[in-house]
């Protein structure tokens, strides 16, 4: 039984090359990369090779600007808390947006409880930040602007270069959470002008539990983890070398295939968007028509609830993600969807569809057939749909 995986944003499957590299690394019985003997040096060499490969994927000027860590959450916590603590003498004000990932929101909440002030800018109905609002929010005490590169619920991409320029004009550090972008769209930290950029390997077919933080040379950031002198005192702790080797391989293979994979995903996205009107009615596309990831579509299907749709599709061996409040631990409507201006009822019917290099056009067709049936069944049960169809 083959599962049609249209939930690639949650985690992309490991590449065969990554599995092989990790198994090979396991068999090499690497020592601690910080040890100075021959065994340690071999491990350090493998570590630096992986770091080089990862730094090439985001075009860092120097590999040492990349701190390898446990993934997106750690990377974001490091960036935000590290900048806040290191620059508290300059000010305690941070600017962000209403649609950030919880790793950003909760890091900022923690800082707010310690006396920091946060200004959060709004987004338009397709989830885009207006750079002028960011400029207006910056004050003399602002030390950091953190705006995500692409949103994990809508796929909408922000005008990062413009926002980075605004931050720099005002001498403020700029961080972007690019977890869902790295490996799907070309990322060039030098061209973008960002000071810090967070990424995670499992969004580019590497192992979960690995990722990194790009820190432009000269940026004042305290480490999140204090201890040994690994990685130039930027993150203490003996490295997860097997995982990092996997990430390095994933980065190298992804870099070679990025254009091809991205174009393939875009063709699937276009097919879905083109055929959706013939499949169902009463829906809202939350993804920006131009500025969005090539592999993502967020759609709010009215008068049905997302978890029910997801369960019915799962019965047909199709995996999708929903942003229904019912499917979250907190049982609350997604802050991202509410920020776009959706009603609670419309937010309830939101599916997030994300594609990968291995999805096919036939799978999209199968999904659309299954979706049509699921929505028809659930609308038959729904009191909201009946009221609407009665006018």
């Amino acid at each position: 039984m083959k599962i049609i995986n249209l939930d690639q944003i949650s985690s992309k499957p490991l590449l065969a090359e990554v599995k092989a590299a990790m198994i090979d690394a396991l068999n090499k019985d690497y020592h601690n990369p910080s040890s100075q003997h021959k065994s340690g040096e071999a491990a350090a060499e493998a570590l630096e090779k992986a770091r080089n490969s990862v730094s090439e994927l985001i075009n860092a000027a120097m590999p040492k600007e990349v701190v390898l860590c446990s993934g997106g959450t750690e990377s974001i916590n490091h960036a935000i808390k590290g900048v806040a603590l290191a620059n508290a003498d300059k000010g305690k004000h941070i600017v962000t947006s209403n649609i950030e990932h919880n790793a950003v929101i909760k890091s900022l909440k923690r800082l707010q409880s310690m006396g920091y002030k946060v200004t959060s800018v709004s987004v338009d109905t397709k989830g885009r930040v207006n750079p002028r609002e960011v400029a207006d929010a910056i004050s003399d005490t602002t030390i950091l602007v953190s705006i995500m590169h692409s949103n994990n619920e809508t796929g909408t991409i922000q005008p990062i270069e413009e926002i980075a320029e605004i931050a720099h004009e005002k001498k403020v550090i700029f961080h972007t959470d690019a977890v869902d972008s790295v490996g799907m769209v070309p990322i060039d930290v030098q061209k973008m002008g960002v000071d810090l950029l967070s990424f995670s390997a499992n969004t580019f077919h590497g192992p979960a539990g690995t990722g990194g933080l790009y820190i432009r040379r000269g940026t004042r950031v305290f480490p999140l983890l204090d201890g040994g002198v690994q990685k130039g005192n930027k993150r203490a702790g003996t490295e997860n070398l097997i995982g990092i080797i996997g990430m390095g391989t994933a980065a190298a293979v992804t870099r070679q295939n990025l254009d091809k994979w991205s174009a393939h995903c875009l063709s699937l996205k276009n097919k879905l968007l083109k055929e959706l009107p013939d499949t169902i009615d009463h829906y809202i596309i939350n993804t920006h028509p131009e500025h969005s990831l090539p592999n993502m579509v967020s759609v709010s299907i009215q008068f049905v609830e997302g978890e029910s749709v997801m369960l019915m599709l799962d019965d047909q061996d199709i995996a999708v993600s929903t942003r229904s409040a019912c499917a979250t631990g907190s049982l609350r409507a997604s802050h991202v969807l509410i920020s776009l201006g959706l009603s609670h009822a419309d937010a309830q019917g939101t599916l997030v569809l994300s594609f990968g290099k291995d999805n096919t056009a036939e799978e999209i067709t199968a999904f659309l057939v299954a979706l049509k049936n699921a929505v028809a069944t659930l609308r038959d049960i729904s009191p909201l749909y009946q009221k609407t169809s009665q006018g």
């Binding site: 909440k109 369960l311 229904s324 019912c326 907190s330 409507a333 009822a345 009191p383």
Partner: protein
């Protein structure tokens, strides 16, 4: 996530639909997640002769509606009034902890439909349902734990009844 009984009622919901010229209608919404449930009753000789439902909600909400109608069908009104949320959850052989609040919707809708029937019988005019907001605030303006539905203090981050951590805003 859900057990076999819940999935069976979700996949094959019983008593779905509308009863034309129903003797009693109960409509409730959950303000927390936006779910909505409507129960229709046909009453003969003070017994629930027929019952149907419509639900906008998750797998658990649909299964609860379906099971509720099965329990209530054929029961005398006096007995149906005694049906509790716990009875429905128990008949479904349990719901995930954070979905227990869905079962409240079912019993609330049934009791409201019975009330509607009794009001009509007593000659009370049926109140117009508020359409624009779609959901009635079944619990008033107080805060309730989404996991166990016990009232909690505004702004608290921990439910003392079921020991769940909560988001700050509720």
């Amino acid at each position: 996530m859900y057990n076999k009984v819940v999935m069976d009622h979700f996949r094959n919901p019983r008593n779905v639909g509308v009863i034309e010229n129903a003797d009693g209608i109960g409509e409730v919404g959950n303000p927390l997640c936006g779910d909505m449930m409507t129960i229709y009753l046909k009453i003969t000789d003070e017994k629930i002769e027929d019952i149907k439902f419509q639900t906008f909600g998750c797998g658990s909400a649909i299964a609860v509606s379906s099971m509720l109608t099965e329990i209530a069908k054929g029961k005398p009104i006096a007995e149906a009034k005694q049906i509790t949320n716990k009875d429905v959850a128990k008949a479904l052989e349990g719901l995930p902890k954070n979905k227990l609040h869905c079962s409240n919707l079912g019993a609330d809708a049934l009791h409201m439909a019975i009330q509607d029937y009794e009001d009509r019988k007593a000659g009370k005019k049926r109140p117009e349902t508020v359409r624009d907001e779609k959901h009635e605030h079944t619990h008033g303006e107080n805060c309730y734990c989404p996991y166990c539905d016990i009232e909690i203090e505004e702004g608290s981050t921990f439910c003392k009844a079921c020991h769940s951590s909560l988001e700050e805003e509720h």
